[in-house]
């Protein structure tokens, strides 16, 4: 890998995280009032003042920002006002749930979406392809939360097949609580992953189709056919490989959407992940949690972008060798 290219990407990532840290901190400044958030409505004014002072809220903001960054660099994001626990602990505890959910949904959506898109592109003119595409449009158009609750209604309440909430039994692998190794954990994952994946499946399918159509028009596809390469190989090796690049990019962006919509899905399925935590924090003005979440997301996306760029370079020899 070209070191300049790599270094530049890392530089961008750091810049992104820095800017988000500023925004996140500033957000903490204006959103809500931590003292009220902690003490509630019925605390006397003196108690409020004391707490304000104790928390250092009377310092000027650059001082607090520096302190914040200093702490953040050490992985410290303070205490959650509400949960009264170190934010870092909460986040570490909740990452596995969200990651497992998002990754399952991502895999599900790619696994279904890519073949769908390929098929729809190959048989572009057939009515099946248009039915597929129309179906996927409906998929995109269904609000995630409605899908979620409908699934619960059918599969939990009516059929009693799947649990309606939570993560089921989890097993610890080191600090990571996974639900993927137990039957109940897997059962609990099915519906949230599906409702999160549904709109993404459609997105992926549509993207793959569009890219695929474009690639199928290329000369090298025609030439591959002219060389007698079988259609299946042409479609799934030659065409798909070239379609991969935009898919990689989109998967990266998609993780963004997945995390964002995980907020909704987690809310519906009471999934103990970052989304429920963030939403609760938002409704409770739990600023340290909000800030830490934002920083985490920024790091996550900076990381994802970095990985996407690297994957891109791996998948496309032209980028790999080009100057950064």
């Amino acid at each position: 890998m070209n070191p300049v290219y790599f270094a530049r990407r890392v530089g961008h990532a750091v810049l992104v995280v820095f800017i988000v840290s500023l925004i996140a901190f500033q957000l903490g400044e204006v959103i809500g009032d931590p003292v009220t958030a902690i003490l509630g409505l019925d605390a006397p004014a003196s108690a409020r003042e004391a707490l304000r002072e104790q928390m250092g809220l009377d310092q000027p903001w650059p001082v607090r920002y520096l302190a914040f960054i200093g702490d953040a660099l050490q992985g410290e994001f303070g205490m959650s006002y509400r949960a009264q626990r170190p934010v870092a602990d909460i986040i570490v505890e909740r990452i596995p749930a969200t990651v497992e959910l998002a990754i399952s949904a991502l895999i599900l959506s790619l696994w279904i979406g890519i073949p769908l898109g390929v098929v729809a592109a190959i048989w572009r003119e057939s009515c099946w392809a248009s039915a597929l595409m129309t179906g996927s449009v409906v998929g995109v158009s269904l609000p995630t939360f409605v899908v979620g609750i409908m699934l619960i209604f059918v599969f939990s309440v009516q059929l009693g097949m799947l649990p309606s909430f939570g993560r089921g039994q989890t097993v610890a692998i080191g600090a990571w609580q996974t639900g993927l190794l137990t039957a109940s954990g897997l059962a609990a994952l099915i519906m949230p992953a599906i409702s999160l994946a549904i709109s993404q499946v459609a997105l992926v399918a549509r993207l793959v189709r569009a890219e695929m159509l474009e690639v199928l028009r290329m000369d090298y596809i025609r030439f591959a056919r002219a060389r007698g390469i079988r259609d299946r190989v042409v479609h799934f090796r030659h065409a798909l490989r070239n379609t991969l690049l935009p898919i990689i990019t989109v998967s990266g962006i998609q993780i963004g959407y997945l995390i964002a919509f995980a907020v909704v899905v987690e809310q519906v399925f009471q999934w103990p992940g970052l989304g429920t935590m963030f939403l609760a924090a938002l409704t409770e003005s739990d600023i340290p949690v909000i800030t830490a979440f934002l920083m985490l997301i920024a790091c996550l996306f900076a990381g994802i972008n970095l990985i996407v760029d690297m994957l891109y370079a791996l998948a496309d020899p032209r980028v790999r060798l080009a100057e950064g």
């Binding site: 449009v137 963004g256 964002a260 997301i297």
Partner: protein, 301 residues
Amino acid sequence: MSSMTGMRDHVTAMATQPAVLGAAAILLALVVVAAAAPWFAPSDPSDLASLDLFDSHLPPSWLNGGDARYLLGTDSQGADLLSLLMYGLRTSLTVGLLAVALSVTIGLLLGLIAGYARGWADTLIMRAADIQFTFPAMLLALLIGGLARSMLPVNQQEEAAFFIVVLALGISHWPHFARLVRAAVISEAGKNYVMASRLSGRGHAGILFRHIMPNSLNPVFVLATMDIAFAIMTEATLSFLGFGMPASQPSLGTLIRVGYGYLFSGEWWIVAFPSLVLVTLVVSVNVVGDWLRDRLDPKLR
């Protein structure tokens, strides 16, 4: 391509695809309904004096216990659901359109600058777009919503909600357009007719706005269509999370949020109809957008 013949071409081409034609007709109907809501709706849900609490929770008129005055039933306040839907559709569409208009405006402007000026302006704008890109639109919208609300005086938030949502959605999506426009501008700017225009003495602004911009608009147009659907959906999701439109100025999303609680209660109409309308709206926008893309996107032709 002439815009007139172009338009006619599109219409005749559309006529051959019944699904698209259907979607376009539905979309048109929905837009008309939304635009005409103040005249066509049986009642004005914002006219609070007309509400009667004792008419609340009525089922659609064709069901047992329904009331002929309320075709699709009433909500928890006794407001006519049909009217709410019409006004909600209006709000959703307005939010969607304005949000997209905002992101198109920002994206177009920055994309034009980045693609035409290149150099540091390009780097700066695209880097900003990258940074913005790393943030999922919805989280960004949540944040902007949170920020704006906390900065506004309490009693202005109600009126401001609409603009906050539009702003949040608009701001969160400009990078898509900026990237698209930039790519189109770079490709157009390299074309010979731009060179020829420079030789004819036209200045940069003239070239940018008379030549390059009109020729870069097609993909923007396509994406904008799709984005309206996305904006409407995101607004609905935001509303669901309680950060969207207030219940006093309901969008379809707000109606679904309010109705969401009634999913199991047997008062299904409160959530079913708004969901249906939302899905219909988004589906038809998407179908038409897909079709437009297949037609307009030169890469796909």
